[in-house]
Subunit: 402 residues, 4 copies
């Protein structure tokens, strides 16, 4: 039996008792005896640490393009628990997958599409397309979705060439739609805290920073198969995970490089590396004088970012894992691990809701297509440097000098 709403936010013990009394009486009447013991059931809304999920019809509808491992294990569940977004469409080349995944998320046949995205333009329940396919298809699928009038979230790397990135940006402009790159780390609680600290000067002056992203490429897993093919992946460890080092440090330092020097290496005889590089190392120089060392690799297993400030050294380790990232600050006197209330897993909903929010409230996109293009240009400079064994200077728009 319903209770009258209690207007005040905080309930006093006195009113609690009153509330309990009426409930007890009500339930006694309803049950013909027994009754519910005294309890503060009349309390108002709980003080939630974070805002709750919005009502279903106020969440933007997203269609996921590409139903591979990441889409099924991370993107779709994240859409299911996002606050301002919901799964509303599926795009795949496999009718079987469309059927199975559609049933799981209650996405009817009317909202399931092949990669041609025919009829998607008319599907009003879908406002955003999330492109999660192998790298070489990002550009074409993004353009198609934009041309269908949808906003686009595109996984990193944005594409396999700067030219493709530019084409995607142009298409977004032509369509008047948003284009965002899914740089999750910008929404990961510990990365965000490191960024806040660096910006606030809490780490002091940062003259050096470093980041290393390595993970073993496993050819026995379907999701790693295509990464061994240069035409599909566009490169090796650099484009896949080295991009986290690159994008992360530029963001954390708030500055873009003026020159890069890189090397790459592919172990002969290892079939994984017949087309792509295993290890990439690079030095980045910044106009401020800051220096950065980065590396990526496809054999070891560790993902780390550090900012070497003269007040404290901040280490994110792991920096960009799907869960349990950790931020530690140290100097000669202490080592301090920061504990965020938010879990690393919130990066998945965070990146999604960021775009929904930007669309709904006309806000800025923190990681737009232009950032993806910038990173692709630097990646091209890194490969150039590695190929020529020469330092490559960069223009302000990150195109190569000379």
């Amino acid at each position: 039996m319903p209770q009258p709403a209690i207007p005040s936010r905080r309930v006093m013990i006195g009113s609690l008792t009153a509330g309990l009394g009426s409930l007890a009486a009500a339930s006694a009447a309803a049950q013909g005896g027994g009754g519910l013991p005294a309890t503060p059931t009349g309390r108002p809304d709980p003080q939630l640490e974070r805002p709750p999920q919005q009502a279903e019809d106020r969440r933007l509808g997203w269609a996921v393009a590409g139903l591979g491992h990441f889409a099924q294990a991370y993107a779709l569940p994240a859409l299911g628990r996002a606050l301002m977004s919901r799964p509303a469409g599926l795009i795949s080349g496999s009718p079987d997958k469309l059927r199975a995944v559609g049933a799981r998320y209650g996405i009817g046949e009317a909202h399931r599409y092949g990669y041609d995205m025919a009829r998607l333009r008319d599907d009003d329940s879908v406002q955003v397309v999330y492109v999660i396919t192998p790298n070489s298809t990002h550009a074409e699928l993004t353009v198609r979705a934009l041309e269908a009038g949808k906003h686009v979230m595109c996984e990193k790397p944005m594409a396999t060439s700067a030219a493709d990135c530019q084409r995607m940006i142009d298409a977004a402009k032509a369509a008047g739609r948003r284009l965002m790159i899914a740089y999750r780390a910008h929404f990961e609680p510990y990365n965000m805290e490191a960024r806040r600290m660096a910006e606030a000067g809490e780490l002091g002056r940062i003259w050096f920073a470093a980041s290393d992203h390595h993970r073993p490429l496993d050819p026995s897993k379907p999701r790693d198969e295509w990464r061994m093919r240069k035409d599909i992946a566009g490169g090796g460890s650099l484009v896949d995970i080295g991009i986290y080092s690159l994008n992360g440090l530029i963001w954390l330092l708030g500055e873009e490089p003026v020159a890069v020097t890189a090397t790459i290496h592919s172990p002969p005889g290892d079939k994984r590396f017949a087309e792509i590089e295993n290890v990439m190392t690079a030095q980045l120089e910044f106009a401020s004088g800051a220096r950065v060392n980065i590396s990526s690799g496809y054999t070891a297993d560790k993902k780390r970012i550090d900012l070497w400030g003269d007040k404290a050294v901040a280490v994110l380790d792991p920096a960009t894992a799907y869960k349990d990232n950790r931020l530690t600050l140290s100097n000669a006197r202490e080592q301090r691990q920061v504990i965020s209330e938010a879990a690393s897993a919130e990066q998945f909903t965070g990146v999604i809701d960021h775009l929904s929010n930007a669309i709904l409230n006309n806000g800025a996109v923190a990681t737009p297509g232009e950032m993806g293009l910038r990173d692709m240009r630097i990646i091209e400079a890194l490969y150039r440097s590695a190929a020529t064994q020469q330092r490559v200077a960069l223009n302000p728009d990150m195109t190569m000098k000379g």
Copy 2:
């Protein structure tokens, strides 16, 4: 445009190319040029580390009773992402909450109930009621839900007296329904790994174990208000979080105590502790000879369990947090942190799906009402020991001797 299903689980490079070719052709036709670059879009289902969410109509419907902080911030989101369960009903004394939360989760008016649960018996979309109200109401609400023909998950502590626990168990038997206590730690990945290690003998012989659960009681938070009232909470830090120490160690050791000695203390002048204890300490003796120290408190902030084996000491710290629990093994030669693929947050879906699975597949419930009764009896013995300053010996059913 749909692709034909590919029967084999793993795709060979050859068939990949074929698949890509047909897609490229299809899209070229559809788009009148351009076409999608070669990509392995024809791959079969991804190898998911864990099973995906089942289709909506195959998940059991749950009604949540009590829409406070835990329900809104943890239980309902967990039901939203559970694999075999889904939110299907709401039970509350507040019409406002029923309306707001109902809208958020798409639970219509027909499935919203007051605490009398009138008509719930006829609601076929609800199979389970999850009781998340203040402790003193657990028994009555559980009995009502069982009488309405629903299975029940009840939050810990099961009730505020062993007598109430017995009444709940009797009601479940009478109704032929399941009654489970939401001891989440049994489904938390790091606790589970510690349990596996202990059982497998990887820690060696465990002659001593300890656990301390402390967290600051904050009277400014509505969700902590009722915990200061003995009639509602049933006790202080012991029943709220000390129960994690108690239940956890019994589970991890696989043995129940034969005697307990306890003390409690309430700092005079602190209004939080006018009715309930702040600190509880206890020693537990086991027939095997093992000894256990536990404590709980409402002022410090740390939750830890350790098993002192003669091969390794396992420390869970935090042991029972909502996220980022950690398991470390140590001996004189090394300290080893175990990293689970599963996140601590899965405990919330794990505990829920465990009951759904037991119902659907007629399986055993790992943390049944009988376990809640057992723990309540030990709690009563601990309070008795503290009050009498005497060691209390226990019968095999955990009732007090003498």
Copy 3:
């Protein structure tokens, strides 16, 4: 060639150059060419973080009684590097040991003694005797050394009975000499920092504390053989390492217990525990309301102390190891590891120099015989409680009530 002393503490670049110039000239003259490059060799004394060792003749002479493992591996090396103390005599029942160790440390035959300590009274180079023999001999050897007019440092536990402790204190008073118990943790950098923090209120109010000291008893090691014999050791894990938990927490909390409840257990069939206890657990109650859980054991391997303050929980883990102890503070927002400039190994010289300093400068002894007696009384109360399964209340002087 000697340089004139430079009076100022800090050298300016100008004077540096001058100094270097003269050195260069000097060396050029001396060598007939070449010469030493410019360098600031004329700098005054370095700023040492800690005071240097005093001149040999200003360090007090110590004789070590008992030349077992601890004496040879820790005590004698510590005397060698102590700032105010030096090895000056040896006392042992083994002429072979006296010869071998004497040669190693340059301690001549005139300063080597049997346990009768005949002639020691006349040895003016020895001012202190450090008793490092099995527990049951502490009292007699201490009394002999005091009667020979020497000050005494006695290893923990002070003796095997409170009566013996009292006899030692009486002998010290009669002789007008100092008697100190080697509670090293009071001089260990991280324990000292924890003590400072607790006293300064940096941890907030501490309502609960805990400490567990366990290490595997290894009967294959001569130094563990006698610990299995009750007549020699005086008890099991409690007197050997549990005393660290007991003494440490009383010191850190700055308060003595008013009642104790304990259990002990000896696994049947394990020959190590035919006479002594393996595990001891205890609860301590304090007048302030604070509660403490302690344990000790001879099978697992870990030594930990924690203070559960309401501002932060301080964990020493390891707390009382010979090296690499660690102090970590945590609350819900962060975990902070404190890094001391001093190494844990300084506890060995710290405890020694503390007594030398007290003797030389008439200072107070932080861990006097009276503290050893107090701890022995509590230990006797713990064993009484374990034997009677009763809580034992304590008088202000730690004798048992009733």
Copy 4:
């Protein structure tokens, strides 16, 4: 009263009692009553984990040249506790220091020298000279000591130019004496364990490694003053601490680089960096295909080395601190901290005794002058690369190509 030696290494309980009995009788006779309680005083030598200090006259005599902070706070104390070495002479430009330090260590006037080292040749109590002066003087002092017929331990960096290094090596050959560079990390327990693991293949194949050495240069400390002067220090952070990254990784990987690319940076306006570099970054390429990133700096505070193996990533952090270094291994499943029985502080005695042992037993020197020369050549290549913004290829002897 002496006991007869007991021949067997391990004492049986039976013989213990016998031994105790005779002691008790003896002491009873000696004391006229009382007597010592039964105790295993007749035990043979303790099983020491590590060998004890040798008798004084069997330890090699060392003279320390340069009595600054490191010499007084670390080198001389280490000589005092070394197993095969002892402090026997002092060399300084300051008569005051010679007097004060000489008194402290009992080193008489006859063994105190100016930098001309006149008469040192005739001092038979000194076999080794340990050069701990500012970098620019290493070469000249080393040559003088060698010409005086002494062996030399020289601090890192060996000198300020490869030419000087060669001159030192030539002098050692001419004199038939040993020349060792004090690369302490080769004797630090955790670095040694990492080296062992890498060599044994326990980390798997290492395609990438990294090391960063940074510490704040403090111009207010006399010991940092000269480091700001290029003529004395020979360079900035690279020669001071970057050399740890360089030397450490070459040792740990067991391979020397074939090419290097480096940058350096000196913040304008910071007087500390008017002459020398703050940050240095470099990439090293190895013939095996391995790649290394290193950096050094004079503003942040952290010293780390990691080896990214495909079985595990080994992280030394801190890697080369004076105490409490730490070795952690990680992969996706666990993070494991290795605990050595030896303390990091043993690196100071380890490096010293290594040379004494090599001299006494005609053994090889692990870190000879040739290693110092090699490192200096690489350092010169790094500075060349930074100055020219070009990759510098190296010959097998580490001289620059082209």
